[in-house]
Amino acid sequence: MKILVCVKQVPDMESRFRPDAAGVWYAETDLAFRVNEYDEYAIEQAVLLKEQLGGEPEITLLSVGPDRVVEAIKKGLAMGADRAVHVRDPAAHLKDPFQIASIIAAYAKGEGFDVIFTGMQSLDRGSTQVGVAVAEALGYPCATTVVAFEYADGTVTVKRELEGGVKGTVRLKTPALVTCQLGLNQPRYPTLPNIMKAKKKEVAVIPVEQLLQEEARLVLAQFSAPAKKGGGVVLEGEVADQVDRLIGILKDKTAVLR
């Protein structure tokens, strides 16, 4: 069995974001990057599947982006992926979700992956399109927003998370693609020996030009902070002072403090 996991590297979401020089995306200065949280669940599920099948499947990790994404790749390899492909693209942020999906599909075509795992979305762009678009380009059946995953004899059975806490159970035949929702599993922390081992694993580098054949369907026009809607009070400063001011406001504006 061959498994593919698609991984994106994204900034820490507690960062302060500022527009880049073109004003269409964030400037990378001062940002700390990490593996997209949803993709950590994808990596973990791939490793769990490999373990379930006695270590037979080979897990390939793929990431599209500039040189910094090698750090995300290393983490995935340390979590248990066997090899990686870095599609090197210094301008990945300007590609639209359809182009990113086309790049991944162009690589995966002919590789004969049985199961492909992606996150259901990225924390920064959050299009929720790439996984599904990869499946469509490859002609794979696909289930999104997966919170439970089982595999047996070429059949994947998943639970999709719907609104209101309802789940929908869906069965697909492999080859298939699933997009992983938070809470699907408990992503492991790489151990030191596995981090050392990961350093010896193969990372193939492919320039994006070799895989990209599609024109963009979306143009990024602007990136900015949302207009503040609410007239909420912001309390800053010393904790003791904040406590007093909050209690004052609660006594004033609510009937909950007796």
Binding site: M13, E14, F17, V24, Y26, P97, F98, M120, L123, D124, R125, G126, S127, T128, Q129, V132, E136, P141, A143, T144, T145, K159, R160, L162, E163, G165, V166, K167, G168, T169, V170, R171, L172, L182, G183, Q186, R217, V219, L220, A221, Q222, F223, S224, A225, P226, K229, G230, G232, V234, L235, E236, A240, Q242, V243, D244, L246, I247, L250, T254, V256
Partner: protein, 303 residues
């Protein structure tokens, strides 16, 4: 300008938020038609054309067939936009329809913008304006961004059919697990988020809830990490609450959480990050570390 709205039905009923699609179309000033995989009982209160495909035949979840049914409606209606809600149905189906139509897709639109559509990015902290190239354009709309509009009237029903079978087998729905406290009746809720840091810190949140005479809730990451039971989760996939006072401790404010608590009477948020999206709905945002501020608040209130 013409828009094709993709309605959504579950268990034989039209999902209420489908009316937000009409609200969007009205802002755009566009002519409308709807496509719905459902049944007569799920038809909207709307006097325009509804392309109806029988959910008994095509299933409520069968993306291979649903995308072709939407495509069939697109061929008949020739819309400029095909619009879904950004829900588990919409974000699953829209990219498949976009692939079939070779169309651009803009996800989770929150507003019309000059030269394109405004959508959130960076976990709702920032906004981007995106301009689609070519058409028709596929859109999904963030829930609550466009006020619902019930046009009224009886639909002009057009039946849709496609041949073939789908590759996904839908085995059924599983009802939500409702264990623990019914937060929907609570007057005061103190909720813990990722900013609490670790499971061992949770008693600090419980202490504050106790002094205030309230219940303890949680955001999704706290439940996903196994720190608290799923029954305590507030948000789209958990409980939707509207207490008199909601205290969000270390909760950044993912849209799914906000949707579950923003109707609370008074909202206090405690967060280190002044720009956290929870600030959008909070009446008071205390910029502080939860583990420093909450014990101090509890101590003062206990006096």
């Amino acid at each position: 300008m013409k828009v094709l709205l993709v309605g959504e039905s579950r268990d034989g009923k039209l999902l209420e938020y489908s009316y937000e699609l009409f609200g969007f179309a009205s802002q755009l000033g566009a002519e409308t038609a709807m496509v719905l995989i459902g049944n007569d009982a799920a038809l909207p209160s709307y006097g325009g054309t509804v392309y109806l495909a029988d959910a008994g035949k095509y299933g409520e979840y069968n993306p291979d067939l649903h995308k072709r049914l939407v495509q069939a409606a697109v061929e008949r209606e020739k819309p400029d936009y095909v619009v879904f809600m950004h829900t588990s149905y919409g974000w699953d189906l829209a990219p498949r329809v976009a692939a079939l139509l070779k169309a651009p897709q803009v996800s989770e639109v929150v507003a019309l913008a000059e030269g394109g559509f405004e959508r959130p990015c960076c976990s709702q902290k920032m906004r981007q304006v995106v301009r689609p190239v070519g058409g028709p354009v596929v859109l999904t709309l963030q829930g609550g961004a466009f006020p619902a509009l019930v046009p009224g009237g009886a639909p002009l029903k057009q039946t849709l059919e496609v041949a073939g079978e789908g590759r996904t087998e839908f085995l059924g729905y599983e009802a939500a697990v409702r264990k623990g406290v019914d937060l929907t009746r609570a007057e005061i809720i103190v909720s813990a988020g990722r900013g609490v840091g670790k499971k061992e810190n949770l008693p600090v949140i419980a202490e504050l809830a106790k002094v205030l005479g309230g219940e303890v809730g949680a955001s999704r990451p706290v439940v996903d990490s196994g720190w608290m039971e799923a029954g305590a989760q507030v948000g789209v996939t958990g409980q939707t609450v509207s207490p008199k006072l909601y205290v969000a401790c270390g909760i950044s404010g993912a849209i799914q959480h906000l949707a579950g608590m923003k109707k609370s009477g008074f909202i206090v948020a405690i967060n280190k990050d002044k720009d956290a999206p929870i600030g959008e709905v909070a009446d008071v945002l205390v910029v502080a570390d939860v583990m420093q501020f909450v014990p101090a608040l509890t101590a003062k209130l206990a006096k």
